[in-house]
């Protein structure tokens, strides 16, 4: 029982619900650059950008490369009275490997290094086949959903601010120099911001579905008349 606009109120086909306020919208394909907002709460429902997949893939690779440097290069160098200590994040992790604060260090490392890398990997896993026009991988939906769920727990940018605070605190105690790893983290903030600008979950979900990965034959094929989405 489809209406002329291509949606079905019995099965939900061709409809989209705002994740923030549950308002129903008729789904339609946007062209790149258009933006669909929820009619009630104004949440951005879709914001496709042209070439977004390729950009996101490139940025995911960038994150991985920067993170490699961030982990193994010296992070901060400290010296006082001729006794110096240059430390990389990797070194920090090893130094704490047997302390009672191991859980705290592990949690911190996971939040600032593990999750950004994992998210980049999941994004690559999801997007590379899609960008090449091949069918999505079998677990693409799970991977992308996990990546979105982990977004708030990936805290590289907060870590950079934390470092600045730590620098001020330690300034009276010793001389501190910023190492290359700090600047890698700093660059990650901007990579992250750009990546967010290109990210449009709705487009990616549609692409996963359209590519035949986990389809149920309900994807929109033709554009219904514009009704709810404003560009």
């Amino acid at each position: 029982m489809k209406s002329k606009d291509g949606y079905d109120l019995q099965t939900g086909e061709g409809l989209m619900a705002c994740p923030r306020c549950d308002a129903l919208h008729v789904e339609e394909e946007l062209t790149a650059g258009e933006r669909a907002r929820c009619i009630r709460c104004g949440t951005v429902l879709a914001n496709p950008r042209s070439g977004a997949f390729v950009q996101l893939i490139a940025l995911a690779f960038t994150t991985m490369v920067l993170m490699m440097g961030a982990v193994f290069f010296p992070f901060l160098e400290i010296s006082r009275m001729g006794i110096g200590n240059a430390t990389s994040l990797f070194g920090v992790a090893l130094a704490f490997a047997d302390g009672f604060l191991l859980p705290l260090v592990l949690a911190v490392l996971i939040m600032i290094v593990g999750l950004p890398v994992l998210r980049s990997f999941l994004l690559l896993y999801t997007l590379v086949p899609l960008a090449q026009g091949r069918p999505a991988r079998r677990h693409a939906a799970t991977a992308f959903r996990l990546s979105e769920h982990l977004r708030p727990w990936s805290m590289a940018e907060i870590f950079v601010i934390g470092t600045s605070v730590a620098l001020v605190k330690v300034a009276g105690l010793a001389n501190v120099h910023l190492g290359p790893a700090f600047w890698a983290f700093f660059a990650l903030i901007f990579v992250n911001l750009v990546s967010r600008g290109f990210m449009c979950q709705t487009t990616i979900w549609d692409a996963i579905e359209d590519s035949g990965g986990r389809t149920d034959g309900r994807e929109m094929v033709e554009t219904p008349k514009p009704e709810t989405a404003q560009s």
């Binding site: 994740p19 306020c21 009630r40 709460c41 911190v108 979105e148 708030p152």
Partner: protein
């Protein structure tokens, strides 16, 4: 109550729930109400229901409880000259005062806002949101509530700053005899408190803000739930 139209719901907007459907919070796909798992993204489908607020309350209480030791116990212990020049322990608040004495007011302000004002404001905001969620509201009130929810959701992670500061300092300042910094028990409980409040904010369903009243899904299988609105 469950059959009478609710005057406070902003009428013209049809929600998935009111249409007898269920929307996926992860990908937006709409399914028939009896569907349990979204076939597109694999997310569990949950109706906007005040009973889900239990998760919010549980995580919130956990967050408040762990916030107490985070303020009582020392965040870190500084030793200079292996304790000969004295070792000092500082709680969160003492750390802020120390920074002010050093003259770095801006950093003191960052730490004070991130580890004292933000967590407490978050507790208050989540409590209020969970109390008023699903209660009658005008459209304007709903917009205000959504705004507050978005602020809480956005700002929650930033409280982690203090934990990172302690982690960096203790890793960095291991100059052996000269000076050393060790994390205190408060660092762990503060990290837990931030994590719990983040989970609490994440389990809050913003769709409840827009639902004037609890479930009225065509009366079937949801009878009697109207009384839970309180």
């Amino acid at each position: 109550m469950s059959n009478a139209p609710d005057p406070h719901d902003d009428g013209p907007v049809l929600t998935a729930h009111r249409a007898g459907l269920i929307g996926c919070r992860s990908c937006g796909r709409v399914w028939p109400a009896e569907q349990a798992v979204c076939k597109r993204c694999g997310e569990h489908l949950v109706p906007p229901d005040r009973r889900r607020l239990q998760y919010v309350w549980a995580w919130l209480f956990a967050g408040i409880i762990t916030y107490i030791p985070a303020n009582i116990f020392p965040m870190m212990r500084t030793q200079t000259f292996a304790g000969l020049q004295g070792s000092s322990e500082a709680t969160i608040l003492e750390g802020v005062v120390e920074l002010i004495h050093h003259g770095s007011y801006d950093i003191a302000a960052i730490v004070f806002v991130a580890s004292i004002i933000v967590p407490i404001a978050k507790f208050v905001a989540i409590t209020w949101l969970a109390l008023v969620a699903g209660r009658p509201a005008t459209v304007d009130q709903a917009h205000t509530r959504l705004k507050i929810y978005e602020i809480v959701e956005f700002i929650g992670r930033w409280s982690m700053i203090d934990v990172f500061v302690v982690a960096i300092l203790s890793a960095l300042v291991q100059l052996g005899f000269v000076a050393s910094i060790h994390p205190g028990p408060a660092a762990v409980s503060f990290a837990l408190s931030v994590a719990f409040t983040m989970l609490s904010a994440q389990s809050f369903d913003p769709r409840l803000i827009w639902r004037g009243l609890p479930l009225r899904s065509r009366g079937n299988s949801n009878d009697g739930r109207g009384t839970q609105a309180g």
